[in-house]
Structures are given as C-alpha cells and as structure tokens.
Point group: C2
Chain length 263, copies 2
Amino acid sequence: MEQKRAVHKTIIRIRQGEREEKQDLITVEAPVTIYLNGRELVTLLCTPEKIDRLALGFLRSEGIITAIDDVASIRVRDEEGLVEIDLKCETDLIEKLYGKRTITSGCGKGTVFFNVLDSLRSSPLEGDLKISAGKIWFLMESLEERAELFKSTGCVHSAALADQEQILCFFEDIGRHNAIDKIIGECLLAGIPTDDKIIVSSGRLSSEILLKAAKLKIQLLVSRAAPTSLCIELAESLNVTLAGFVRGKRTNIYTHGWRITAD
Amino acid sequence: MEQKRAVHKTIIRIRQGEREEKQDLITVEAPVTIYLNGRELVTLLCTPEKIDRLALGFLRSEGIITAIDDVASIRVRDEEGLVEIDLKCETDLIEKLYGKRTITSGCGKGTVFFNVLDSLRSSPLEGDLKISAGKIWFLMESLEERAELFKSTGCVHSAALADQEQILCFFEDIGRHNAIDKIIGECLLAGIPTDDKIIVSSGRLSSEILLKAAKLKIQLLVSRAAPTSLCIELAESLNVTLAGFVRGKRTNIYTHGWRITAD
C-alpha cells in the first residue's frame, strides 16, 4: 500500500477580518531512506509515492547505477518509507563517499560533479529533434491538466517525459528534483529509451536539473518557469534546447532555437 | 566586488506564430565553495551575493557554529566564489562527516537531523508573540515590493526577517534555503536577536525551512505558499505558528492560531 500523498487538516482562514475554521488538503512530505546492499545510503524528503522510481532515479542521477541490469533486487517498504536495493556489484566505495545523510525536498542531491562547471567537459548531445511551438504549448497544457495534487494543495512540482505527441509518464513531488528522478527511475524500470524524448516541468530550470536531463540525452527541456544562467551555459555547451516561460501561447527559447519552429 | 546577480542574454520569443529576438534578464546561478580552517567543506549553488552571510548561515544551520564568537576570521573571494572561514576550534570531525560535496540551489543541505522526526524531541519554543492578520499582510506586501530580482527574472525566492512593524533584512536567492541561511548569517554578523522576530518567505514551507527557523527561535513563519504535512507536524510540536497562502487580504493559519488576531 502506498502512503497518502495528501491529508486533510482543519485550519483557520482569515479573510476581511473574519476568522473561520475550514478543512484543507495538505501535501504530504515524508522521509524515504534508500538502503544499498543492506546499508543505509541516504534519506530523501519527498512525496511518498512511486518511491521505487525515486530511489532508482536517484541512483542513476548520482552515477551509482547506469542501467537496470546493475540492480539485483528492489524491495519497497512503503509504510516505513524504505527502499532496499541490492546491486550486483560491491558498494563499499560508494558508501564511503556518501556517508549517511539526509537530503531535503528542495532537492540538493550532492551532484556527481564536484564543480558543476566540470561537466562542461562532457561531450555535447547528438540529435536533431525538431518540434513546433504549438506542440510545446500542448504538452505544457497536458502537464497542467494532470497536476491534480498541485490543484488541490498548491504545494508540489510536476514533471513529465513526453514524445512529440503526448505525455508518456508523469510525476508530482514536493521536490523539483525528485519529480525528475522519478521519471528517470520509470524509464529504467520500463525500458523507455530517452534520447528522442522531451522533459516538461513546472519548476525552474537550474544547473542540476539540466545535468540530470543531459545524462538521459534529453534534447529539449520545457518549463513553465525560467532557467538560471548556469543552466543556460550548460545547455548551450551540451547542445540541449531550453524552452521557458511556456504560458498560454507564448514561449521563450534560451538555447539551440533551431529545434523549435514558430507554428 | 560582488558578482552580478542577473545577466542580459538574447533569447527567441515565440508568440502567436511570430518569432522574434529580444533581450532578456537571466538570474545568475553560481557555485560558492566554503573552506573551513583551510579545507574545502562544501559547494553551494546560489545567487552569488552576500556569500559571507550564506556561508555563516549555512554553518549555523548545520550546527557547525552556534555564535559569531566561534569564528576567528572570514575572507570572501567574490570573483572566485570562495568563502574562507577559520574557526577558533578544530574541525577534523566536521570535515570527516561532511566529506567534499556539492549542494544544489534547490537547497538540500543535508540537515543535522538524520531522521527529521528526531527533531520532534527538541523542546518547544517559548514565547507569546501576538500579531494581527493586517500586519502579516503588510509584511508580505513589503516582501513583494522589495523582490526586484524576482520582478526582473521571475526566477528567485525571497525571504526576510521582520519585527511586527517592518522588514529588518531581506535576501533573494535561487534557493529557498539559501535565502533563509543568508538571514541567519546576517543575524549572526549584525548581532540581531531573533527570538521575537518573524520570517517572511515567498516559498513553500517544508520541514527543513521550519527547522532552520526553529533553531533561531522564530515563533512565526509567514509564506505566500503552502506548508507541507511534515512542516505542520514539526511546527505543532515546536510551538511555531505557520501562516500560509498570504495573498491579498487572505491568510491561512495552520498551527498555533492563538498568536494571530483577525484585525
């Protein structure tokens, strides 16, 4: 059984000098601890659903696994907020590097790149995906339609993997990064190739979101919000297209605009 | 000289089938590395201004320092994104616990509490601060008025320390947590007592924001956004009042509503 992702709570609303009690729906934030080969690796603060995807995506983002074949077994204990993953290889070094630590919902995943700029040395993506602005707007509308937890609580991010026609998988999470990691985990589990896909996100595009996407060889990142300077620098150099402020029939393109047509 | 917090960039805007180049202002995201007693401790991704406050606030949030008296010297090298802090005591153990790692803008500060729920054992705050809803609205308006970087880029969070009448210090940062840590650093440097103050934030209230505030003995957290379930649980037990969705003349009160009057 999965944990709840929202809970009812009685709150006080003050409006125009009036004070009234009302029922409200609150986003659940919960700690999820990943055990690797029987030893505690890390605790993430997240929306406690699809935590197997979260754990797998996290391990992939951190470079601890590169394919589902690296994994011998996964066991989820939803009620306790535990995911136990056994790998086929030894993990002594990984555990030493990681220590035992808590990572917050905001994201903060201690990226693989000590100095983010190091990643500029990565080789640029190949791929000549092209898409119309109209399709980008449609994908953003689809994301917003599905964002039920956001509509009821106003307190989560959403992210989806899409092809040119539709959303293929969709997650909501209190952490921007967790939502992306859940996509990554889903792709690993379901064997979905990602190098011709698009990521659509409700949240700001910062350097670490870009790096997660670039590891999947995603050529296009679409967001309702804006990218940061470092995200743009990395996208420029890694040949990733960034479309931001996708709202209504408007979009801003920050890098590699040749992938997007105006129609 | 401080680094820039926003940069101009030529982007492509597509609107109603029209494609045009325009100048846009982009939020700067940059890595800032903290050296402790001559050794690299951690790299934060942030808005590169007031990075001495960020570093001090981070050390205080993590429990590495508890007062400015613990610090022997601070040296800021803005252009390289370095803050060198020497403490009066040895830090071998701290460095061993930390390793060398990067923390992302989203926040993710590997909190002191391995299991966040452990913090429930902390003792509840004392303090009988009372404030009217009208003053809360005024403080939120003041926050929004000052949020210049947000107005020009749409890509940062803001946070302020306030008393009942006005904002005392204000910071914008790409990371929700960084903005709070900058407040903490400012209070340490300027010797501002915090146990009778209020924190006002543009961002969602998650457990780690609550814990940072509770360490300062802040009795009231005010946000434009919503709190998570875990934030509410902790606030309930630590005697902190949470006011969320403060927009226009409306506010929701999630915990310890006795501190807020409807006028």
